[in-house]
Amino acid sequence: MGIRSSYYKGLKSIIVGLASIVTFLLAWEAVFLVMNNPFFLPGPYQVFLAFIRIATLGDINHVPLALHASVSLYRVLLGFVAGAVTAIPLGLLMGMRTTVRSAVNPIIEPLRFIPPMAWIPLTILLLGLNGYIFIIWLGVFFPVLLNTIAGVRRASITLVNVAKTFGAKDLTILRKIIFPSALPEIMTGLRVGMGIGWMCLVAAELIIPSAYGLGYLIEEYFNYAQTDVVIVGMITIGLIGLAINYFMLYVEKRMFRWRVDVGT
């Protein structure tokens, strides 16, 4: 049973998935044929050709798709690292010390409900055209912070006591008990933050002028009324976001082999 049936299950879900994609493309093609207006809605084949063109020959300035994607990824990575290195230590502190929590919460809580996009105008004013990092930082910071705090607070007091009875000092307890206990939550925060950061970036690129980035590509080709390239940009954004998410899930799975799996 076991292996064979799970093999067939896997095969089945792949086939179902492929069928679903083909159906979607056919439906798209059908709508395209009915609308018969390539400016409003180009068909899948036209988008595919646009994809090949942008990927090989590049855009109007001969910047290929891969470079736009790399610039976007680079920006998001900078913001992501900035978000992680600020949110994780602050989250650990806030989780462990009530005083820090009471001091920081009144400032952070209201800020948390301002969408990163709402910061864009002020960012352009204050930080100029390189404000991307700040926008992404905003998107990454809060999910990582909240998850880190939650992770710390979930750490077992018994494990802390075990470390204490062996003579551990605060920093050792933080390193050997609190941090590993909170790590699954921190990783979840990082994954969610990465997703939000990616979306923030593209939004920021749509607004902040530059010659690179997937958001820029969309904006630029919208102005040229080339909707097929706009869709190429959109699909690329979606696929890269998906790839990042899968990558982070994979890392989590590898890191937390010690966790009991619920379900399969």
Partner: protein, 259 residues
């Protein structure tokens, strides 16, 4: 205060007129009331008491996790301080680090005590408690009895001055409990460590301890300190064993309000 004199007399572990109250929103709760007893180096003392009487609180004071409201605990003449003394504490609840393998858990105490761990020592205690072959398992992959063994090996591996155990075998089945009791006695007779063993199981206390301290219901105070004058290994079926057991059960029954 006789604690310092007691230490001079060769008592390594002294509890002297200990009191502990907790202050909570719903009022003050007295948990330990004027408790005194002492243990000599190398002795095996069992502490029994009704559930909720303050045994775990006592253990936490003994290993320096809680401070007493008044009175003292002295270990070799000084207040308990895990940063200066070596304790091997085994907690009532599960206490293994779930992200570490069995062998990494055993190394954990050494890692903290001395900053480095010797794989040889870890392996030695692994084999002493019968865990060879399970080094690379994670805690969720081993049984409850094995988890207790790991906790014991971890405590022993730091070469503690004193071992303190809080109902370590309470949630195990009778067979596993008996096996672990025997193993504990054999480890104790090999290593000659001072052991303080908390339990609510009277038979276990009489089987293990050279002395049994019987506590009253909360607030805990010493009801009686009984010397168990039976050679090891003990049989649970001999008349003297049974009479010790019945005597202590009788004492505890006075502490539980009749239903």
């Amino acid at each position: 205060m006789w604690a310092h004199e007691a230490w001079a007399m060769g008592l390594m572990f002294v509890v002297d007129s200990l009191n502990k109250s907790f202050h909570t929103e719903s009022g003050t709760i007295d948990v330990i009331d004027n408790l005194s007893f002492s243990v000599e180096e190398g002795q095996f003392l069992c502490i029994v008491g009704p559930s909720g009487c303050g045994k775990t609180t006592l253990l936490k004071i003994m290993c320096g996790l809680e401070t007493p409201t008044s009175g003292n605990v002295l270990i070799n003449g000084v207040l308990p301080n895990p940063q200066k003394q070596k304790f091997g504490v085994i907690f009532q609840e599960e206490s293994l680090l779930p992200w570490r393998t069995v062998i990494q858990n055993v190394e954990f105490g050494q890692e903290i005590c001395s900053g480095r761990c010797s794989l040889d020592i870890a392996r030695k205690y692994m084999s002493l408690v019968g865990l060879v072959g399970f080094e690379n398992y994670y805690p969720h992959q081993i049984s409850g009895g094995m988890k207790k063994r790991v906790a014991i090996a971890r405590a022993l591996a730091v070469d503690p001055d004193i071992i303190m155990m809080d109902e370590p075998f309470a949630d195990l089945d009778a067979q596993t409990r008996w096996i672990l009791q025997k193993e504990l006695l054999s480890v104790w007779s090999q290593l000659k460590k001072t052991v303080i063993f908390i339990t609510h199981n009277v038979e276990e206390a009489v089987f293990l301890g050279q002395f049994v301290a019987v506590l009253t219901k909360r607030p805990a105070t010493l009801k009686s300190l009984i010397k168990i004058d039976l050679p090891y290994p003990r049989s649970r079926l001999t008349p003297p064993f049974i009479s010790y057991r019945e005597k202590i059960i009788g004492m505890l029954q006075q502490e539980i309000p009749s239903i």
